[in-house]
């Protein structure tokens, strides 16, 4: 791969299954050392895209290159340059840590002379020193997950695809895992992580949001937060919530209102109700208001907003 080429470049990438377009003219660019989050609802086309990028599925239209190789014409070369880890971890529970590593080392054709050193690296990365002979099924979730990552990088791939890698893992272990991901990225590895854990999207340098096979938005977490709500988010503490929701739902300038715990999350746009007027507006409707304060939108807010706007636009066109 030449030094200036992006690690992953997809242009107009499309996959159709009999009469159904799973991935629809997707453009994606991932640089070396970048961690990109691939976010979207179930059925949005995440897995299909990843499978095309891994050279496992032939695109119907468009092109993609991974590590400089064309996924349609050179799938073998692509597969040698990538690591892949799926949500199920694909480890053998009745084999030991060492046996799993040896097995995957064989699959990835790690040269004999290099194997011991690679295995040591994977074991220390996963924090499994002293547990090389433990059966994998006896390990806690976080350790299994780090071992699966260790297996996926035995052949030192410059590009890593992680498909929902962290479900059900402890918060502390999850944070350790993300430290490892960033460690690998610092060494130049390009990483595409699919997830629908919104908290996890925060760990990515950039986020690609897809829905209905199309790219809806792409940017850093802060960029997406700033530009996609169409207004400012406020947290409103008031009772009764149901009546407040109804009143705000039809008020001018209110882009969105939703119950969040014991409060409301209200997005206010330009030229309508302002945050200062909000307490009065609600009080006039017999709603008691405790406080109104600006809130930082979560990536989930952003996601839901973007997906629903895009769907509305598509339905209208």
């Amino acid at each position: 791969m030449s030094p200036d080429n992006p690690a992953v470049l997809a242009e107009g990438l499309t996959k159709r299954f009999s009469g159904f377009t799973a991935v629809d003219h997707l453009d994606l660019r991932i640089e070396k050392g970048e961690v990109v989050g691939f976010i979207g609802p179930n059925g949005a086309g995440k897995s299909t895209t990843i499978r095309m990028l891994c050279g496992l599925l032939r695109p119907s239209e468009g092109r993609a290159s991974v590590a400089g190789f064309d996924v349609g014409r050179q799938p073998e070369a692509v597969r040698e340059h990538i690591g892949y880890m799926s949500q199920k971890f694909s480890l053998y529970g009745d084999l030991t840590v060492r046996e799993n590593l040896r097995f995957f080392g064989g699959i990835y054709r790690v040269p004999h002379g290099d194997f011991n050193e690679r295995m040591r690296f994977a074991i220390s990365m996963a924090g499994l020193e002293g547990r090389e002979d433990a059966l994998v099924r006896t390990l806690a979730g976080g350790w299994k997950q780090r071992l699966a990552l260790g297996c996926a990088i035995l052949h030192r791939p410059p590009i890593l695809f992680l498909d929902e890698p962290t479900s059900g893992v402890e918060p502390e272990a999850r944070r350790l895992f993300w430290d490892l991901i960033h460690e690998l990225a610092a060494g130049g590895v390009a990483i595409l992580v699919s997830t629908h854990y919104m908290e996890e999207a925060e760990y990515c340098n950039r986020i690609a949001l897809i829905d209905g096979g199309r790219l809806v938005a792409m940017g850093t977490p802060s960029e997406l937060r700033q530009r996609s709500l169409g207004g400012d988010l406020f947290e409103v503490d008031c009772v009764p919530l149901g009546a407040a929701l109804k009143a705000l739902g039809s008020a001018q300038g209110v882009i969105e209102a939703a119950i969040f715990g014991d409060k409301l999350h209200v997005v206010l746009g330009q030229g309508g109700l302002s945050a200062d007027e909000l307490p009065r507006f609600l009080a006039d409707r017999d709603i008691r208001v405790g406080s109104v304060r600006p809130a930082t939108p979560s990536l989930e807010d952003v996601f839901v907003r973007l997906v629903s706007t895009t769907r509305e636009t598509r339905a209208a066109s």
Binding site: V35, G37, G40, P41, N42, G43, A44, A140, G141, G142, W143, S167, G168, V169, E170, P171, E172, A173, R175, W178, D179, H182, A186, H196, Y197, M198, E199, A201, E202, Y203, C204, N205, R206, I207, T220, P221, S222, V239, L241, G242, A258, I259, F260, G261, D262, T296, S298, E300, F303, V304, V307, S308
Partner: protein
């Protein structure tokens, strides 16, 4: 906001369950008021499902008392089942039956009279937005729709207490939000909801939370109070190369933790006022010019990690 009531919807005292040598649940006390959406939060293996199953009268505790809607669940399991409804992680839908047939079947199972069953199922289908799909086979539904159907089946006998074990695992955010809108409507109609979740962001939507770890409740409070009680303060430091910032601040006096995010670092410090100038200097010393330090609102996950970090070493 918790409405005062002299009787809790769910009251648990000294709940304990062992599986062989594994102490799955240890001496758990809980009081859930009527109309609450109460969250049991914790990683896999924390004891969430075991507690749920005991509350639902499908698993007998080794010790402890459970009262749901005034009924002693341990002594009168069958009677308790008329007052509560339990939706396990894998709700048993019949994939070769339609939506309407599944609901009808569960209605019969719970002994709901036929006329009432039809009216109730119409009302629930409408609220969940599933009415147009009622003739579709359950096997052909998306994850989010299956989840809604499971919920409808669990609600067909109008229970007063709803127990949901990880109801939104594997459900995407858009469907998840729809699902929560239904839960809030149920709460408005007086149903008490106890749910478990491993999603920390979802936990924020509950009225109160119990943070579970190793079969014990470590903290129990509103999300707001839990955040306020987090030891130290959280700062967000944004920079083009957040990794360099992390390296510059890690291990400095007063830094309790530094977490690398995509475009910033979250740093937990003992005292924000005192440490911000120190950190600013340390970052500048490393030649990083574009770092911006601002206070950040902790999430429930930050609270969890901060609390457990002080109490327990790493796994296992």
């Amino acid at each position: 906001m918790i409405t005062e009531s002299n009787e809790s919807a769910v009251a648990v005292r000294g709940l304990t369950k062992d599986f062989g040598p594994v102490r799955a649940v240890r001496n758990v006390d809980l009081a859930v008021a009527r109309g609450e959406i109460f969250g049991l939060v914790g990683p896999d293996g924390a004891g969430k499902t075991t507690i749920m199953r005991m509350l639902a009268a499908v698993l007998r505790p080794d010790a402890g008392e459970i009262v749901v809607d005034g009924v002693d669940v341990v002594a009168e399991a069958e009677r308790a089942k008329l007052h509560l409804s339990y939706m396990p992680q894998r709700f048993g839908l019949y994939e070769d039956l339609t939506i309407a047939e599944n609901i009808f079947f569960y209605g019969a199972l719970f002994g709901v009279p036929r006329g009432e069953r039809i009216a109730r199922s119409q009302e629930l289908l409408e609220a969940a937005g599933l009415l147009p799909f009622r003739r579709r086979l359950a096997g052909q539904l998306s994850g989010g729709m299956k989840q809604k159907l499971g919920l409808i089946c669990a609600l067909i006998h109008t229970p007063r207490v709803l127990l949901l074990d990880e109801p939104t695992t594997g459900v995407d955010p858009v469907s998840r939000r729809d699902f929560w809108a239904i839960l809030y409507n149920l709460r408005e109609s007086g149903v008490t909801i106890v749910l478990s979740t491993a999603y920390m962001d979802e936990a924020e939507r509950c009225s109160r939370l119990a943070l579970l770890h190793g079969g014990q409740i470590r903290r129990c409070d509103t999300p707001q109070h839990l955040k306020e009680a987090m030891p130290g303060a959280l700062l967000a430091i944004a920079a083009t190369h957040p990794r360099d910032v992390r390296d510059a601040v890690s291990g400095r006096p007063g830094v309790l933790g530094a977490l690398l995010m995509g475009d910033r670092v979250h740093v937990r410090v003992d005292d924000a006022e005192r440490r911000i100038p120190e950190l600013r200097a340390a970052i500048a010393d490393q030649g990083i010019a574009d770092a911006v330090i601002a206070p950040a609102e902790p999430g429930i996950e930050d609270v969890f990690v901060a609390l457990l970090g002080e109490e327990t070493p790493h796994e296992p």
